[in-house]
Symmetry: C2
Subunit: 373 residues, 2 copies
């Protein structure tokens, strides 16, 4: 890799880059092609930014901040018009062609072998022939997600929905209009656009959309500037906050305290802003309490029955090698996994995966045996 050139491209000194290589920037030797990943944001370079060995740079997708109170945030950031897209619940990926190969990068800048197989099959190579420097930014969603399996979307296995488009070596993204146009032109799936609303009507319309999404078990919305000047903002449904909590307390000792705290605080602000009636407030309290205690209770009871607490996910692969590569990839991520025997299907293999929540297993067992906290 040409370090001086790389330093110049990302706009930091060579000396600084060399220093960072030891701390914040890590080399990934596998899968091909080799790359450097920015584990943390440095000097205005987003975390997840990747520099491939051929020198090409793919910047990390900018973090989308969250409105806690919708109406004042809309007034402040979108005083004119706001576009409302669905925030789909899966995992982020950036898809690029490097040399002759299309690869899918995770948020952190790893090449995910499974996502790579999926996008190679789903996305017409023509888009990369026409635009060799394009970066498709999107969400991988569906029941065969190894990270966030969801069956609330019209997806059989796993689908890649783009929500933005960028270019290699460019930090800025192209926004709503370019993204939907490109998606249509190349037949790529795109996150649903619910509409563009005037400032006056937006809070009420968005509330209705978010409530409906919540009832359907879907996550929420991303608010965007139709002119692509102001940065997008996200906002989620109460049901989605509670689903996150249900998940977090199922594996209560493996999850960050901040993850839990943030979901709970969102509920507090939404209850006030949406001015819950007494009945609605009771329902929200009950939903919150249940999302915490029901799944945690399940975990404790299972552990008392000697069962190991695992998260079961499944993937569908065309080639068996992809499953073994995913296994290796997950282990690199520090996730304890057990891959089942592949089950042949007409068009590939189904592989069941168990992810072990070791800390929750250990802690729960020790409490059941009378240990003290």
């Amino acid at each position: 890799m040409d370090l001086p050139k790389t330093a110049e491209s990302v706009g930091i000194s060579l000396q600084r880059l060399e220093g960072m290589l030891e701390r914040n920037v890590k080399l990934s030797r596998w899968p091909d092609p080799r790359l450097f990943r920015f584990e943390k944001a440095v000097s205005g370079v987003e975390a997840g930014t990747v520099i491939f060995e051929n020198g090409e740079i793919v910047y990390g997708y900018p973090k989308i901040k969250r409105a806690m109170m919708l109406e004042p945030a809309l007034k402040r950031f979108f005083p004119d018009k706001v576009a409302v897209e669905e925030k789909m619940n899966g995992y982020n990926a950036r898809v690029v062609r490097i040399g002759e190969d299309v690869v899918a990068l995770t948020r952190g800048g790893f090449i995910c072998p499974y996502s790579t197989e999926v996008v190679r099959e789903r996305i017409s190579p023509q888009v990369f022939r026409d635009h060799p420097d394009i970066v498709l930014c999107g969400e991988m969603v569906g029941p065969h997600s190894p990270y966030v399996p969801k069956d609330v979307y019209p997806v059989d296995s796993l689908e890649f929905y783009i929500f933005d488009v960028a270019r290699k070596a460019k930090k800025d993204v192209q926004g709503l209009e370019s993204t939907h146009r490109l998606a249509e032109e190349y037949g790529i799936e795109c996150v649903p656009l619910f509409g563009v609303f005037d400032a006056g009507k937006a809070p009420e319309e968005i509330k209705k959309i978010v409530e409906r999404l919540g009832r359907e078990g879907r996550e929420g919305v991303v608010l965007k500037d139709p002119r692509n000047v102001v940065r997008p903002i996200k906002y989620t449904s109460s049901e989605s906050n509670c689903t996150d909590l249900r998940f977090a307390f199922r594996y209560f000792n493996d999850y960050g305290r901040d993850f839990i705290f943030s979901r709970v605080v969102r509920e507090g602000f939404q209850a006030v802003e949406w001015n819950d009636s007494e009945k609605e407030f009771r329902e929200r309290c009950l939903r919150l309490g249940e999302s915490i205690l029901a799944s945690m209770g399940e975990t404790i009871r299972e552990r008392m029955a000697q069962d190991t607490i695992v998260q079961r996910v499944q993937i569908k692969v065309k080639r068996l090698q992809t499953a073994w590569d995913l296994e290796r990839h997950l282990r690199y991520m520090g996730i304890r996994v057990v891959f089942g025997q592949p089950e042949p299907l007409d068009d590939g293999y189904l592989v069941r995966i168990e992810k072990l929540a070791m800390s929750t297993n250990d802690k729960t067992k020790s409490m059941i045996e009378g240990d003290l906290w």
Copy 2:
């Protein structure tokens, strides 16, 4: 202070002590007498341990661990008999005589001027004449607590209830029997003892006691070995866990995430162990959800009405100087306080205090104004 002698008394090398003096051990110059405090546990010396300038040492009270599941913990630690005392909800204090003066030490090893005034008035000096090296370990409870005001106890203002007795320069404590005997002999208030139970009956009896305490808004129990061999264990009521959460979410951005997480997890284990009926479980979920969302909602609504979020407490002092000393002490602790004008009473002064939750005030205001998280 005689460092070599001090090093020898606490059983660490002089060199080590000198190193620690810079890191973990801090000098308190005020109020008199001057002392060194162990901010953290080091080399088997409990945090909160104090070395006075005359060389006398008062060890920190050993941390009491918590049972998450009562029955297995009882089986494991108290296979024979267990004594059940009330865990009163206030703040810890250790009371000792140094030279001619009785002082009250906080858990962290500061001299609290207000607690000191209270114990000087409440506790007969005879106990210190008879036992100059005695350390009374107890809980300060009542409505005039500047830290944890509670009106669920039969206390008009603030009372000191002892729960253990130690000796200067001794790490071990004397346990249940000595404590109750001493309390009776000198007319000192002592935490209630609910009884000593056989192992077979203990889980059911303790559950009944904890449920009753919960209904009365009281905290829970400390389980003790009547022979004072096994270390005590604490266990709290669901209502107390929820009261803590209500408090934490009233000042949601000033509280540690761990404080919140631990209370919630306790509810999870208790729900399973006590085998909640469907109705009881719904009530527990609702109680948990409300304890989080109701007080947080109050905070947001108050802040929207331009009010500053403060915690109002009040103290009753004999001498005005004690109030000013407490003000100085609280500021040392890093607590932002506003003391009101003292209101004369027949037997002293009532002083209203506002404690400012700065981080919660700032964060809530910024969210209300549409800032992003």
